[in-house]
């Protein structure tokens, strides 16, 4: 399968903004932390044509930062993002419009003062995908495809429920006829019954349009449901990546194992205590990640080697890549 969107050793640092207050505090002798946070460190991955790659991890693991770099919204501090082998953010032919994004919060991603018909038409008209005259028909078509009444085009975002707004966000992204759709926690703020509707819509449209997708979520069962392959992140790095069925059935990295075991399962019979098992300890601060393997302070299998040397992401016989000395 051909690789559509690739990240080549991308790293992203965020330098803390030094405010006036910080400067005054520093002048008065307080310690002001100016260390940059490295949100993503040396990540390489590829999204293949027609697949959905799931990206999972806990808060602060860098999954959204990686997603935003892949979407072309955020430039990497080092490394490169390529769309079909070319850097999409440079040169005469900007191709960032080929990648569209659906975010978690449909309240924040729609301008409250713009009617949703205009919000959907804006991008395609600006980029010459559709003429202004043909735009209303295109908007009506997209509203219908995401399960909304075409008459809603003249409404404002506040007149919609959360689930409907997420449908609008999907319509707006897809109206740009993207090659790659990046979804960052698209169902995280929705109720269970609405989440199911949006996931069904996503599955239908993906099949109909043959979309290539990056699907970012903290919800392991949602990612399992939609993904062909899954990448697991911990503290800015990918610790395991491979075919979704294999990773969920037989996770290799101790963090993936711990993460999957810590999710409470629906207990229909038997011992509810066996439904989940917590990972001991807490996420270390990304300001001072542990030496060696970042997971070693929480890992039962950790040895001296893990404390000193960071394991590389290396392939196993079934094609899964794992970053662990003992897996």
């Amino acid at each position: 399968m051909s690789e559509v969107l690739t990240a080549a050793s991308v790293t992203r640092r965020f330098a803390p903004r030094i405010t006036l207050g910080d400067r005054i505090a520093a002048a008065l002798g307080a310690k002001v932390d100016r260390r940059p946070v490295q949100a993503v460190t040396d990540v390489s991955l590829a999204v293949r044509k027609g697949e959905t790659l799931g990206l999972v991890g806990e808060s602060g693991c860098g999954k959204s930062t990686l997603g935003r770099m892949l979407a072309g919204i955020l430039p990497p501090s080092a490394g490169e993002i390529r769309l079909h082998g070319a850097a999409p953010m440079r040169g005469r032919h900007k191709t960032t419009t080929r990648i569209q994004t659906v975010f978690q919060d449909p309240y924040a991603s729609l301008n409250p003062r713009i009617r949703i018909g205009e919000a959907i038409a804006e991008g395609p008209v600006a980029h010459g995908l559709v003429t202004r005259a043909a735009a209303p028909a295109m908007v009506a078509d997209w509203l219908r495809r995401v399960g909304l009444d075409p008459a809603y085009a003249t409404r404002f975002p506040h007149q919609f429920s959360g689930g409907q707004r997420q449908r609008v966000a999907i319509a707006r992204a897809l109206a740009m006829q993207p090659e790659v759709l990046v979804c960052d926690e698209p169902v995280a703020s929705l109720d269970v019954s609405i989440q199911a509707q949006i996931l069904n819509l996503f599955l239908d449209l993906r099949q109909e349009l043959g979309l290539t997708c990056l699907f970012i979520s903290h919800d392991l069962s949602v990612v399992r449901h939609v993904s062909d392959r899954v990448a697991v992140m911990y503290l800015g790095r990918i610790v395991e990546i491979g075919e979704a069925g294999r990773i969920y059935a037989a996770p290799r990295h101790p963090y993936t194992q711990g993460l999957l075991a810590s999710v409470p399962k629906l207990v229909l019979s038997g011992d509810p205590a066996a439904s989940f098992r917590p990972i001991p300890g807490e996420l270390p601060s990304p300001l001072s990640p542990p030496a060696g393997c970042a997971f070693h302070p929480r890992c039962a299998k950790a040895t001296d080697l893990c404390r000193q040397e960071r394991p590389p992401l290396s392939p196993r016989e079934d094609g899964t890549l794992v970053a662990c000395h003992h897996a």
Binding site: A196, G245, P264, S275
Partner: protein
């Protein structure tokens, strides 16, 4: 020790807004025994949180309890003067909220807040209160608790803050803890730690727990019994295993089928059509009728009646129990 710890009968909490009367809780009845863990599940606007807040008189205007009875250990709480309620709150009934950052005062140390909470009800010395605070923090899994008492909330992670909130709730050994989505804002690995600790604490201290959540999986791994709420009403209740194995109410069935875990990967989920109705304009019959695959004429005209407690389903056409 006779009768249930908590007995709620026909509780009605309404919000009198300019747009009309929002019947957030409409005729809720249930009982809770000592040491029992009750899961209260539902989607946004189902009334689960307002039910929890109503129990300890924390509903703010324009919300009011307009009817019903809440008996806690034989004492009627509806209509109880604020001072009397205050004596119960924190001492015999404690609450844990979703957002620990909003529960804790950012400008006071953990130790100060916890000693204030101790001394609000017990006339013990500052020193004894601090000792109790440190011991309770140790119980919820905070290492070096005595030293952490001097830390401010921002020095703790989200999971640790929620542990502090839980420890504060445990200070007086309450008979009942009401926890409103206490792990929703936490990461899964931290959520699992908190769940395991809550389960152990409830077991060893005999504290009854009302666990309010939208997440059926966490409720199934924690609760003894479950109440499912929809549009301000309890639509189904029973032992958690029985309800989730073979739900009687079509809404509970739909909620379960909406979970990705219930379908093969990549397959369409068996979704509930439509969305939750506005509480301002509920249909005259069963509030779930417009979304229900089993609805008939009677569902659209007559509200289903409440059956006697036990295994309950508020439905004209309940599914077969397996």
């Amino acid at each position: 020790m006779s009768g249930p710890l908590l007995s709620v009968r026909d509780l009605r909490t309404h919000f009198l807004t300019r747009a009309g009367v929002v019947k957030a809780v409409e005729g809720v009845s249930f009982a809770l025994d000592r040491g029992e863990i009750l899961g209260l599940v539902g989607e946004s606007g189902s009334g689960k949180s307002v039910t929890g807040f109503s129990l300890i008189g924390l509903v703010d205007p324009p919300g009011h309890i307009v009817g019903g009875s809440i008996r806690f250990d034989g004492q009627e709480l509806v209509g109880l003067p604020v001072q009397e309620l205050r004596r119960l709150r924190g001492r015999r009934i404690a609450m844990v909220f979703q957002d620990p950052a909003a529960t804790l005062n950012p400008v006071l140390t953990i130790g100060t807040q916890m000693t204030l909470a101790v001394r609000a009800h017990d006339g013990v010395s500052e020193r004894a209160a601090r000792d109790l605070a440190a011991r309770t923090l140790t119980r919820v899994g905070i290492p070096e608790a005595a030293a952490r008492l001097d830390a401010y909330p921002h020095e703790f992670s989200g999971g640790m803050r929620q542990r502090v909130a839980i420890a504060t709730a445990l200070l007086h050994g309450p008979d009942l803890i009401i926890a409103d989505e206490p792990t929703t804002a936490l990461d899964v690995s931290i959520q699992a730690q908190i769940l395991a600790e809550m389960r152990a604490l409830a077991k060893e201290s005999g504290t009854a727990l009302i666990w309010i959540s939208h997440d059926l999986a966490t409720v199934s791994s924690l609760a003894d019994r479950v109440l499912v709420m929809y549009a301000g009403r309890i639509v189904e209740s029973g032992p958690v295993g029985a309800v989730l194995r073979a739900p009687l109410h079509p809404y509970t069935r739909g909620l379960l089928d909406s979970l990705p875990a219930m379908a093969a990967p990549g397959q369409r989920l068996n979704q509930i059509p439509g969305s939750t109705p506005s509480l301002l304009s509920l249909p005259p019959g069963c509030p779930f009728a417009p979304r229900c695959p089993r609805a008939t004429e009677i569902c659209r005209t007559d509200p289903p009646r409440v059956e006697p407690p036990g295994r309950l389903a508020l439905c004209h056409h309940p599914l077969e129990a397996a």
